[in-house]
């Protein structure tokens, strides 16, 4: 009924692509989140005017297509600086900053959502700025920011499909290679789409559930 030339070796090839997608996403989200928290806190601490340069810098990553960011970074490292940097490193670097740009917004939103009175109360009780951040702001802001952060992480996973442009063979690229060879676009694309969907959908649902649960109390 359904005939396919897809062999076990091809499935392994796809699985490797999927592994690459997950690896690039994990590294970028990890580094990007740390940077994002740093940038977010800096923005809140400095206020809108002083942090303008940082805001502008981060805004670039959200206003220029990721494809162009990747090509530019690759060209800059390779052609301009003449550095021997692998596409994988470039991909992780760009995606990390891309993640950080969005994460900084989420972090800022989370911190701003903690009532000023609560923070003043903490300081009045003799807590230092660090203690206030650690014991008061962090837990409250996390509750607000976590659903958006899950959405961001999933967004980065989907956007990581673009790193093919710096010669990183992730899932979608491996699918395309197989399509060229086997000429079964629909079947292969469905496998690829199913993979993304199966990772993204449950996590997105979980994020929605957290949002719902944490907003009604």
């Amino acid at each position: 009924m359904f005939d396919t030339a897809l062999s076990a070796a091809d499935l392994v090839f796809l699985a490797k692509g999927a592994g690459m997608t997950i690896l690039v996403t994990a590294i970028s989200v990890a580094i990007g989140t740390l940077l994002g928290i740093l940038f977010g806190v800096i923005r809140v601490q400095l206020g809108a005017t002083l942090s303008l340069p940082l805001t502008f810098f981060l805004d670039i990553f959200r206003s220029v297509p990721l494809l162009i960011q990747l090509v530019l970074a690759n060209a800059f490292m390779g052609m301009v600086l003449r550095l021997q940097i692998s596409g994988f490193t470039v991909a992780c670097g760009v995606l990390s900053l891309y993640t950080a740009a969005y994460c900084a917004e989420i972090v800022r939103g989370g911190i701003d959502a903690v009532p000023a009175t609560t923070r003043r109360a903490a300081r009045s009780l003799g807590m230092s700025w660090m203690q206030d951040m650690r014991y008061i702001v962090a837990p409250l802001a996390t509750r607000i920011a976590l659903p958006s952060w899950i959405g961001l992480a999933l967004g980065v996973m989907k956007d990581s499909a673009l790193v093919y442009v710096v010669q990183v063979t992730e899932l979608l690229k491996s699918t395309q290679i197989l399509i060229t060879r086997l000429q079964e676009p629909l079947f292969l694309l469905l496998i690829c789409g199913a993979f993304y969907f199966l990772i993204s959908f449950p996590l997105a649902r979980f994020g929605g559930y957290l949002e719902k649960r944490w907003s009604h109390d």
Binding site: V64, I68, L81, K158, P185, L186, L189, G193
Partner: protein, 221 residues
Amino acid sequence: MFGYTFQWNQALARLPKMLDGALVTMEVAMLSMLIGIALAILLTLLRLSGARPLRAIATGWVEIARNTPALFQIYMAHFGVASFGIHFSPFVSLLIGITFNNAGYLAENFRGALKAIPETQTRAGRSLGMSQLQAFRYIILPQMLRISFLPMTNQMVWAVLMTSLGVTVGMNADLYGVTQDLNALTFRTFELFAIAGVLFYAITKIITLGARVIAARLFRY
């Protein structure tokens, strides 16, 4: 300072071509947004409807659009449907892909907006003798569009950024496609793509500022 000589003039000489590409990019984004909004309203209605299969179709659309990469959706619109003997031009494939994505995200935004509108308003409309559809059209819809105006602006920016993916299905008339072709001719990769980046940045800023002006005029009270 660098072991590389920047040749901005060579790249800047190609600016008119890139601006033409920017217009195509805006055109695709605009079209995909207009059709996307119409489809999203339709999806919202389907999700509100009592019929189970209709709701399932709408929910399926929204979840697939939101949980797979946009690039995958464009591939599907180009290579996927080719399996059925349907061959779209790169322009159409790109438009379908982005529109599908837009509609899904917007429908979700609309659903969020609907939660902010009290259900009693529909009932009030019904009591005044409006049909279900009239109540939606005259009472709910305007408020829904107003509440989701900001997310719609964001989606518009996304649509512009997504047009750069058209190059993967052979689109070469949009800003990214034009830049890529010029790069093949001149090998001024960094300069050309830097200019393209600046143009994209300008387009997104025009959209956000334009949306702010429109919002100020439309929602004065």
